[in-house]
Symmetry: C2
Subunit: 280 residues, 2 copies
């Protein structure tokens, strides 16, 4: 994002969704890309890749409390396109999104694909990353670390890799939570990195209790699980007295902006420490 | 498109636009990709590549008589991203489209990028490819062949390559024509191939007069110019007594569907002859 995000023309180019008011409705638009060797393994089942492409975009809609309308696919043709389409059809049916259109291209390098998802807001104002207020509480909808274990199983060729291959976008939870949250986003690049981004967007400090974060891996891997991506839980902020409509786990509090946007067990992350998965 | 387009789930995946009714408004959505070495030359000025990416998508909107709203960019980071952003900013300003969001990814192979453009219909019903009716006339907004000459100039390193590098999307013409046409599309992959697609979509035969087609190249290259892409003229169908609001050239007539969807000077194209640029 360096060259792009710093240019005035590219101010809109964060990985957050676009919100578009159209004829009295509020549309949510998001675009996510997957690159072979970066976001999925060479040789991975194309049906799983298609599922992940859809789920990552649906997860963006979930964080906005949106319901899916449809998608546009940009797809570089590869060997097993029919298998890709099978997975695409299954994922779109699962999430109730229509294939509205798209483009296919020939290509010779690593496979690249992109999906634009369009959703309809079910709650206005649409939750953003910028609403966290000191005194609020920090929540997550479920455990992190499952995708990490899943990727390791896939690489090892044994064990349960489903969480990595077929992540679930929490559309129902996002829609239920939207009226109750002051900020919400999905955890795609690692809990600490995404919490850091939310704190920056809200100009606050998020103070997280690392032991409170639910993990789907051995306790010895807690450090990694907090920094690993691809779990697609929803991270959200709510007033301290909130009564939530869905299950979630309280993992911290919102404080006035201090010297660092993120505190983990009272301390800022070590200088230069990677907080998650940076795509660029 | 083979594996994709034949699958029921991929029925929507043509290179035509999606039309979406939202709260009393009609949105047009389109997604086009560019691949290095396929749609642009390795080493080409990134600002020109950005311009072309925007223009190809805007041209899709033009064919629907739409006015641009905004775009979402999917962009594989490359060496000279700042230069890309310069071209992107210039093109978006030129066409009046906002950068709504997007995604950037790392990648190691040939550069790949995609753009989703969102437009607002200015005329309903929105022109499609399917409305050509026997007795109608076939028109084009201007000459073909300019991009072919431009690409040759760019490859040769001398001569005017602007038409290839910075194609113009005919938004104003598309909006003016929309209320008058029975079908419309942009000529992106070659006049004959796109006319063939329109004939198929409309279940008619388009009979073209090859000598009537305006060309922007030597007469000796007329055969190639009719089959070359990237010119982004608008190809449209109108009733025989139409009075057009913009300049256009009549190049044929619509006939009941005969044995072939396309006739060139009364004859179907030779068996197996390439009609244009197939992306896959």
């Amino acid at each position: 994002m360096r060259g792009l995000a710093t240019h005035p023309a590219a101010r809109g180019l964060s990985d957050d969704c676009a919100v578009l008011e159209v004829g009295g409705e509020t549309l949510i638009l998001t675009h996510d890309m997957l690159v072979e060797g970066v976001h999925f393994l060479p040789g991975q089942d194309p049906a799983d890749v298609a599922w992940k492409l859809v789920a990552t975009n649906m997860s963006d809609l979930a964080a906005k409390g949106a319901e899916p309308v449809g998608v546009l696919l940009g797809y570089m043709l590869d060997g097993d396109d029919a298998r890709f389409v099978e997975g695409l059809a299954a994922a779109l049916a699962h999430y109730g999104a229509a294939l509205l259109g798209g483009d296919t291209v020939a290509g010779s390098g690593p496979q690249v694909m992109g999906l634009t998802a369009i959703g309809r807001a079910t709650c206005r104002p649409v939750p953003s990353r910028a609403g966290a207020t000191p005194g609020d509480t920090v929540w997550i909808t479920g455990p992190v670390g499952a995708a990490m274990i899943g990727l390791e199983a896939l690489r090892a060729g044994s064990g349960d890799s489903l969480a990595y291959r077929r992540p679930a976008a929490l559309l129902r939870q996002g829609q239920a939570l939207a009226p109750h949250v002051s900020a919400m986003m999905d955890v795609s690049d690692g809990l600490l990195l995404d919490a850091h981004r939310m704190a920056e967007a809200s100009a606050v400090t998020l103070a997280l209790d690392s032991a409170a974060v639910p993990i789907a891996c051995p306790e010895s891997r807690r450090h990694d699980a907090l920094r690993w991506g691809d779990d697609y839980q929803l991270l959200f902020i709510a007033p301290a007295d909130v009564v939530l409509p869905v299950t979630a786990i309280r993992i911290g509090t919102v404080q006035p902006r201090g010297s660092h946007p993120l505190l983990l067990d009272g301390l800022p992350p070590a200088e230069g420490e990677a907080l998650g998965f940076e795509h660029s």
